[in-house]
Symmetry: C2
Subunit: 107 residues, 2 copies
Amino acid sequence: MAKNLEFVLLLDCYGELLTERQKEIAELYYNEDFSLSEIAQIQHITRQAVSDSLRHSEQIMQQTEEKLGMAGRIRQMRNCLEQILESCQNENIPRITELAENGLQWL
Amino acid sequence: MAKNLEFVLLLDCYGELLTERQKEIAELYYNEDFSLSEIAQIQHITRQAVSDSLRHSEQIMQQTEEKLGMAGRIRQMRNCLEQILESCQNENIPRITELAENGLQWL
């Protein structure tokens, strides 16, 4: 199972829709970069159970994204603010730089 | 039942979690500004049924927002981009104005 950066964003958006256990496993895998085997040890379950849990969580999050599309909107907004910050580097406009940097913290 | 602008944003974020009928009624009420009685006529149901449907939809959307908080993030981003646009008015930076205006379209 290749780690997919897309799921880091989906987990950020929809992690609260997972069960406590599913969320814990997904966070260890996507945010903390643990391997399947390491998570199996931590959670006292088999490597296969970790893999099944991740696959199920990914399915839930992907289906929710297909319905709500919030991760896509967050991604667009991040691109937008990053482009604004890039443009700010060529100008002397500290107020806008500050606003865009603050905005990125919400994404 | 007072129309609450908050629900316009919640409907935009979470409308797809409602049933087709619930969504239709909520859109007529919040986006098209129809009254309860007008919606009752359009949908061939009682005014009370419209009111019950809206209340139920609002509950679903509020509970989802408590879990996911996406409407709050969208609101923060909108404020951020509006402040950037305001700052742009005092400077001659059309590139950033354009980026912020495009960004607002995603919100």
